[in-house]
Amino acid sequence: MNKKSFGSRLVAAPYIVWSAIFIIVPLILMIYFAFTDTDGGFTFANISEIGKYKTAFLISIVYAAAATVITLILAYPMAYFMTKLKISSQRMLMLIVMIPMWMNFLIRTYSWITILSNTGLINSFLGKLGIGPLKLMYNPGAVILGMVYDFIPYMILPIYSVMSKLDKSLLEAAEDLGSNAFTKFRRVIFPLTRPGIISGITMVFVPSVSTFYISQKLGGNKTMLIGDAIEYLFNLGPDYYNVASAISLLLMCIILVCLFIMNRFSDEDDGGVIV
C-alpha cells in the first residue's frame, strides 16, 4: 500500500477508538456484571435468578411476535397499494408514513389512553348508544395494539422501498407465461420483496420485545415485559445491577439469535441486507 491510502485509512482511527470504548467495552462490562456479585466475585447466581422472570420473557416474546405478524399483515398491502399510485403521491405518502415515526413514541402511546380508557372517546361514544363501557385498556390486546401502532412505519417503509424497485417486466413475464394473480404473488412478488419483509420484521420485533413504556401505559401493572423488569431492577439501585445485567444479556442474546435467523433467510438469495 502506498502512503496516500495509509493517510486515508488513518482518518477512521478516531471512530475505531470511539467504537471500541463506547460500543465494545460497555458490552463486555455488561457481561462482567452479569457473572459477578456485588463484591465482584464470580457467580452464576444472577443467571439462575433469571428464572424468576421466565414469564416476563415469555410474554415479551409472544407479544412482540404477535405485534410483528399483525404489522406485517397490515403493512404489506399498504406498501403494495402505495406502489400503484403516481410517483408524486407515493412520495407524499411516504412522508405521511414517516412523520409519526419522528414523533415521540411516549406521546403516541399516551394518546391511546384518551381513546381507549373507560371514560375515553370510544367508550363515551358507545355510552351514547347505550353500550359499554368496554374494558379496552389494561389487557394484552392494548399492549399489542400499542406496539403495532408505534412500529408499523418501520414495516411499511422497507417493504415499500423494495417493492417500488421491483422490475415491472418480471410481472409482465409472469403474466405472459400464464400465472394467475396468486401464482404471480407467490413466485415473483413475494420472493423479490423478501429482503424488505425481513428488514421490516427485525425493525419491528427488536423494539417490541425490548419495550418498557407501552406495557406500563396500556397494560397496567399486571403485565411485566422484559424491558419493564430491566428498568425496574436498575431503578432499585446498584445492588440490582448484576441481575439486571444478566437479564439484559439474555435479551441481547435473544435478539442476536433472531437477527441471525433473519440473516440466514435473506442470505439464501444474495440480495438481502438488513437495514
Binding site: 491510502s5 482518518v11 477512521a12 478516531p14 471512530y15 475505531i16 470511539w18 467504537s19 463506547f22 460500543i23 465494545i24 460497555p26 458490552l27 462490562l29 455488561m30 456484571f33 398491502p77 399498504m78 397499494f81 402505495m82 400503484k84 399510485l85 405518502l93 412522508l95 405521511i96 412523520i99 409519526p100 419522528w102 414523533m103 415521540n104 413514541f105 411516549l106 406521546i107 403516541r108 399516551y110 394518546s111 389512553i113 384518551t114 381513546i115 371514560t119 372517546l121 363515551s124 401502532y149 408499523i152 412505519p153 411499511i156 422501498s161 427488536v206 420485545v209 425490548s210 418498557f212 430491566i230 428498568e231 436498575f234 445485567s245 439484559s248 435479551l251 441481547m252 437477527l259 437495514v275
Partner: protein, 269 residues
C-alpha cells in the same frame, strides 16, 4: 381495485393519525380533562412558556441534538472515508459489524451498557455524580454514528476514485483533494446523515433515560409528565414538537426532490 387500494391506504393513515389528531385537539382544551372537550383555550401553551423546567429541558435537548449531530457527522464522515480506503477484507468486515451493533441492538441494552460504563468510570475517578451532560452527549454520538457512516458510505462507493488521483496529480494535497473533489460528491450523504442524527437525538428517550442523570431532556420530562395524571400540557408540548418535525421533514423532502431532479440517487433506508 383502485378504489380498494385507496380505501385501504386511507384506513392505515387514519390509524396512524387518529392518536395524533386526538392529541392536537385536546391540547386546546380549556379544562384539564383529556376525555371531555370543554372549550377552546391556549392556556396549556402559555403555561408551557412559563414552565422553567420545560424550557430547561428544551434547551438541553437542542444542545445535545446539535452537538451530537455535528460531532457524529464529522467523526462518521471521516470514518466512512477511512473505511473505504481499508483494503483488508477482514478488518473492514469487523469494523462494519461493530458499527451495526448500536443499530441492531435493543435501545435498552445500549442504554444500560453505556450507563454501566459511565458509572464504572465515575467510580474509578471518584465522581459523586457520574451521569450528566457529557454522558448523554457521548451516548447520543455513539448511537448517531452508524447512521451517518451508513449514509455516507454508499455515496463514497459511487464516487469515482480516479477523481481523487487526478486532484492529487494536479497538485492538491490529500486534505484539499478531499474538500475540493470528494466532499461535493458525497454532500447529500453527509446532509442525510446529519439530519438523521439530529432527529434521532431529538427524539431519543430510552438511551437518554439511562444515561442522563439530572441533565433531563424533553423526552425525559414527557416521561415524568405521563407518569403522573394525564393532563393536556403534555399534549400541548407534543403538538409543538409535531409541528416542528412536520416542517423539518417537509423542508428535507423539498431539498431531496431538488437533488433528485439533478440526478436520481438510490434511496437508502
Amino acid at each position: 381495485m383502485k378504489a380498494l387500494a385507496r380505501i385501504y391506504i386511507a384506513l392505515i393513515i387514519f390509524f396512524l393519525y387518529a392518536p395524533v389528531a386526538v392529541m392536537i385537539v385536546f391540547s386546546f382544551n380549556s379544562s384539564s380533562s383529556v376525555w371531555v372537550f370543554e372549550g377552546f383555550s391556549l392556556d396549556w401553551y402559555t403555561g408551557l412558556v412559563s414552565d422553567t423546567l420545560m424550557l430547561n429541558a428544551l434547551e438541553h435537548t437542542l444542545i445535545i441534538a446539535v452537538m451530537s449531530a455535528v460531532i457524529s457527522t464529522v467523526l462518521g464522515t471521516a470514518a466512512a472515508v477511512g473505511i473505504t480506503a481499508i483494503r483488508n477484507k477482514f478488518s473492514k468486515k469487523a469494523i462494519m459489524s461493530v458499527t451495526q451493533i448500536p443499530m441492531m441492538n435493543a435501545d435498552i441494552v445500549t442504554g444500560i451498557s453505556l450507563m454501566l460504563l459511565f458509572i464504572f468510570i465515575g467510580k474509578i475517578i471518584g465522581l459523586k455524580e457520574s451521569l450528566g451532560f457529557f454522558t448523554v452527549l457521548i451516548a447520543h454520538i455513539t448511537f448517531n454514528l452508524p447512521y451517518v457512516i451508513l449514509s455516507v458510505l454508499p455515496k463514497l462507493r459511487q464516487t469515482n476514485s480516479n477523481l481523487r488521483e487526478a486532484a492529487l496529480d494536479l497538485g492538491c494535497n490529500p486534505v484539499q483533494a478531499f474538500f475540493k473533489v470528494i466532499m461535493p460528491s458525497i454532500s447529500t450523504g453527509i446532509i442525510t446523515g446529519f439530519i438523521m442524527a439530529f432527529t434521532l437525538s431529538l427524539d431519543d428517550f430510552v438511551i437518554s433515560y439511562f444515561t442522563c442523570g439530572h441533565y433531563q431532556t424533553l423526552p425525559i420530562i414527557i416521561y415524568s409528565m405521563t407518569k403522573k395524571s394525564v393532563k393536556p400540557d403534555a399534549y400541548a408540548l407534543s403538538t409543538i414538537i409535531f409541528v416542528a418535525v412536520f416542517v423539518l421533514l417537509i423542508l428535507y423532502n423539498m431539498i431531496q426532490t431538488k437533488n433528485e431532479k439533478r440526478k436520481m440517487p438510490v434511496r437508502q433506508v
